[in-house]
């Protein structure tokens, strides 16, 4: 953010990255991102921000508990007609991105300017669509993630290998399984995975949302969840508020299986003993959903050039490699190895392996893409109506 500009000012457009660099010099970029991830915070503060400073950009991290807060802020500012927005860059994906797009809150068409975009695979579906919403150059990829289950190997010797198996295991072990209540991000994903599973596979459900397809596929999933509910933790009378609450249950031995959309964090959680060292990742035969997360620039950002510089920097092999180090953050890179030169490749090859989390290749075997964002609220609301309130 910077000096308040006049309302109604047209956002500057840039023709070349040189222009961007010129403009960016001396700007202060406010990066709004979820602040609950200590490793993430440390990476931005200690690795990314110094690198940005070398390019003449001051990077300031604004910690928030929920990305929706950032989107709300941008929307409010736009509603008020402010062009000197306080948000310059957001770590975003999925529904929040889609919301912003609906509201035309993002600056678009700027990613092609970034030199480092050339290192990504332009055809990678994860980078093309964000939860079914075309990216259209409105956000620059940052890292990839894979929905992952994990279990306590001290309690379960013979873990299930499919989602159906997990539900069956839950029925056989009353009180030992639960999932976060949607609209928690992780809980929502679990819901969709169950739907894909009850539908007979990811390919059975079209990515695009329509009421017909919803009516066709959702009921089976909801039935399955309703059926398993009595066997869940607390008999399904209540659900953990969010992924963090589920993790606490897992750590305290209340449940034996948990899940996350950010497997990168598991390494550190186990290392710091926040999770038991018997924690093991559970890979499903049918694969799980994967996504990419991005850095987006609001249309009214007051320092867009600086934001672009940071986004470009974040895509550099050095930063991507540093970020992929499980000791730093462990986030899966978005770069296409094929496009890197040998030196750059070696940066990644030299990374230590995580003792808990398998490699991205292994995790993303049989992976499928996210459904369109419209699915998310529809399913969440249906779950609230039919599963959450029935007990």
């Amino acid at each position: 953010a910077g000096e308040p500009g006049e309302p109604g000012e047209i956002p500057t457009t840039y023709e070349s990255f040189e222009d961007v660099l010129a403009d960016a010099d001396g700007q202060t970029v406010d990066l709004w991102m979820y602040g609950g991830d200590e490793q993430g915070n440390a990476y931005v503060d200690d690795v990314l921000a110094p690198a940005a400073a070398e390019e003449g950009v001051t990077l300031r991290r604004v910690p928030i508990t929920d990305t929706a807060d950032a989107v709300n802020r941008v929307l409010s500012e736009r509603q008020a007609g402010r062009t000197d927005g306080s948000v310059d860059l957001v770590w975003v994906n999925g529904a929040n991105f889609s919301t912003g797009r609906q509201a035309e809150a993002w600056r678009c068409g700027w990613t092609d300017l970034l030199p480092n975009m050339a290192l990504t695979d332009q055809d990678d579906p994860l980078l093309q669509n964000d939860f079914g919403t075309p990216v259209d150059g409105c956000e620059a990829p940052w890292h990839k993630a894979q929905f992952t289950f994990f279990y306590n190997s001290a309690a379960i010797t013979d873990p299930p290998t499919t989602l159906e198996g997990i539900l069956e295991w839950a029925r056989d072990n009353p009180g030992r399984f639960t999932y976060p209540a949607p609209p928690d991000f992780t809980g929502s994903v679990f819901l969709r995975e169950v739907m894909l599973s009850t539908a007979g596979g990811a390919e059975e459900v079209p990515l695009d949302y329509s009421e017909e397809t919803f009516d066709e596929h959702a009921p089976a999933a909801l039935d399955a969840l309703r059926e398993v509910a009595p066997s869940l933790w607390r008999g399904g009378a209540t659900y953990p508020r969010d992924e963090q609450a589920l993790n606490t249950l897992f750590a305290d031995g209340e449940v034996d299986i948990a899940m996350t959309y950010g497997p990168a964090t598991l390494t550190d959680l186990v290392a710091s003993e926040a999770l038991p060292d018997t924690t093991k990742v559970l890979t499903l035969e049918e694969g799980t959903v994967g996504n990419a997360s991005f850095l987006a620039i609001p249309a009214n950002a007051s320092d867009p050039a600086g934001a672009m510089v940071v986004a470009n920097l974040a895509l550099s092999p050095e930063q991507q490699a540093a970020k992929a180090d499980p000791g730093t953050w462990g986030q899966f890179p978005v770069l296409d190895t094929a496009r890197l030169d040998a030196d750059q490749q070696s940066l990644f090859d030299d990374l230590p392996a995580s003792p808990v989390v398998p490699s991205y290749d292994e995790l993303s075997r049989n992976a499928h893409g996210e459904l369109a964002a419209d699915w998310v609220p529809a399913l969440d609301e249906a779950w609230r109506q039919e599963v959450a309130t029935t007990r």
């Binding site: 929920d66 929706a68 807060d69 709300n72 929307l75 736009r78 509603q79 999925g94 529904a95 929040n96 889609s98 919301t99 609906q102 509201a103 035309e104 209540a181 609209p183 607390r234 009378a237 209540t238 659900y239 508020r241 249950l249 305290d252 031995g253 209340e254 964002a373 998310v376 609220p377 609230r384 959450a388 309130t389």
Partner: protein
Amino acid sequence: MNHPLPGPGTGPEDHQGDTGESRSQRPGVDRDAGRERGLVYRRSVLLALPAVVPVVLVLGVSLVGASAQSLGLMPFIGPPVLSTRGWAGSAGELAKSATVSAYIAAASTVLSLVVGFAVAVYILAAPRMGRLVAGLSAATIPIPHLIGAGAMGLLLSDSGFLHRLLGMPAAFPALVGGPWWIAVISEYVWKESAFVALVVIGSMSRSMTGLCDSAATLGATAWQRIIHVVLPLSVPALAVSALIVFVYTFGAYESPWLLGPTSPEPLPVRAVRLFGSVDLDARPEAMATALVSVAASAAAILAGVGILRARRNVR
């Protein structure tokens, strides 16, 4: 005949409070009194302005904004379209949420008053230990509800501190996320009772000790002194704090969100969830929910202030 005009800055209580009504012997008197009452009145209004104006402005803007959003008149995207969907679409859920909120607020208020008054009396009655309790109780006031709720969660949740202290019995009740909102209410009572005690002690005049002595020599036991002297003299303070506690717990979000069950949802939890929803169409509904909470609280305040002032006139 001229009456002394009250100087600037003092309240009209200098004049026994019953200005006007009783002075009607002479026509001139009435006129003067009337003029003066006008002055007192105008000065009081001036006094009120610095406080009232920001409140009215901020609340007015907020309420108008919220109402407009609830009616679809202030969408983030697209043209404004008047619609009552935010209200009518979920009337049943709104009612259910309102009931839950009312339950939490009522239970928390009653218990806070009881505990708060007990703390206040204890502080008055026990010289040494009372000071400790007073200090500790005052020390809980700075704790934000969010932290209080977190702490209460650590204490009361399944395999929380209490459960562990008791040796992890299987029959440990569902305090956090259970059907009776016990952890939520505990947190409110824990925090708000300290507030009640603060207000009650603050309202006690110096003569309280003398009056208790007086009551004792008239045969009132310690308990009777509390019930028949301390309690009635604390009623105004208790009433005001009851109002504040009720309205606060009715509209607060942190505790029920952290410590309550997934369903049913109190009004504020529902409003926040809907407001944060990725579906922009949920905003009108969020605002409608918030406005129901506002309306209920406003009704409570209206009733409370009415009762309070009526009581004061009786006294």
